[in-house]
């Protein structure tokens, strides 16, 4: 008995130049905000961009985007709807924004199904919003997707960075490329995350201050792109660090 779906995944992704998983060992560090803003900013810079929410049990990007009244189309697979210029996919289209209590095996199956049937078409970037940690989603992407780069988000807290350190060790051990580390919600000038990132042999990509205005920007694309976070991400893209 063979699962036919896994064979087709790289075929489905082959017209995407760059796949970036926005990830962290820790929850609540700003992965979803960073992933969404990164996708929108790349799109505004003229790239063709997709955003894929892989946090099946706690999806958030549809709220950050304000993806109301959209639905995928079916035509020899699933065609993602276009939301603010992004090809967008999330499990919420099938769970109808209700709770999806999934165990590991179910997460894995849903992920394989979505990768196997979603027709992304030609994209310059596919940004993936990952669930926290180094569980099923990370292991499945490493296993199934041939070319994928990780962008790691942390906060200044030692508790966040130590989980990131373990994630980095895992990714390095299986030779998966890491673009670098973004330090989010900075409230002081402490330089320890920058220093530790250097010691891991990784690029320190950006530091983003804690910004109380972010909450108001949720669901409002224009406000989101006006935040300091968006400005830092624009600088990151302009610096060619991606």
């Amino acid at each position: 008995m063979v699962d036919p779906r896994t064979t087709i995944i790289n075929e489905r992704l082959k017209r995407i130049s760059r796949i970036i998983a926005v990830s962290s060992g820790k929850g609540g560090v700003g992965k979803s905000i960073v992933a969404t803003t990164l996708a929108l900013t790349l799109s505004r810079s003229g790239y063709k961009v997709g955003l894929f929410d892989l946090d099946f049990t706690s999806p958030s990007t549809h709220l950050i985007l304000g993806a109301k009244d959209t639905q995928p189309k079916e035509d020899k697979g699933i065609i993602p709807p276009v939301v603010h210029g992004l090809a967008y996919m999330s499990l919420i289209y099938y769970s109808h924004d209700q709770a999806a209590p999934l165990r590991g095996i179910d997460t894995s199956n849903a992920l394989i199904e979505l990768l196997a049937v979603t027709q992304w078409g030609e994209l310059d970037f596919l940004i993936i919003d990952m669930p926290p940690g180094i569980g099923d989603a990370v292991l499945d992407l490493i296993r199934l997707v041939k070319r994928i780069d990780f962008l790691i988000v942390t906060t200044p807290s030692l508790l966040a960075f130590e989980t990131v350190r373990k994630q980095v060790a895992l990714l390095q051990s299986v030779k998966v490329p890491i673009i670098g580390i973004v330090e989010n919600m900075k409230m002081t000038n402490a330089a320890n995350v920058r220093a530790e990132t250097g010691k891991l042999g990784l690029k320190f990509l950006a530091e983003i201050p804690y910004d109380a205005k972010i909450e108001e920007a949720i669901g409002d694309e224009t406000k989101l792109l006006g935040t300091v976070l968006a400005k830092k991400i624009r600088q990151l893209i302009a610096s060619n660090a991606l």
């Binding site: 008995m1 063979v2 699962d3 036919p4 779906r5 064979t7 087709i8 075929e11 099946f56 079916e74 035509d75 020899k76 697979g77 699933i78 499990l91 099938y94 769970s95 109808h96 209700q98 709770a99 999806a100 209590p101 999934l102 165990r103 179910d106 997460t107 199956n109 849903a110 199904e113 979505l114 196997a116 049937v117 027709q119």
Partner: protein, 132 residues
Amino acid sequence: MHEWTLAEAVIATAQQIAEKEKLREVKEVTIKVGELQQVEKGILQFALSQLKPTNFKNAKFHITRAKTTLKCRVCGNTWLFKKQKLDKDTAEAIHFIPEVAHTYIKCPKCGSPDFEITEGRGIWLESIKGAR
């Protein structure tokens, strides 16, 4: 139609197996589809026939259905999935991503969504026969 992407996946996988087993020609492919995903056999069969590569030109595709067994992790109850109990939108959502069954289906005995899909989830390649 989502059956087309599944058909494409079946052909790609069968082709890969044929290469591995050094089959010059593929003659028979047996596929199992679980009730839960509600794959339309007719569409799948048609898609497979349209997508056949040359070394599959005489290949027959046997599609068999498997009942879907669900087992509650909380109370141990086992039951069979019945499509008829679902409304159209829900049936369609489960057709695309069978795992969202956990959003819509509850254990008929204790009401828990924490069940295992023990059999008959989606599509499986059971066997492939050919000539070297």
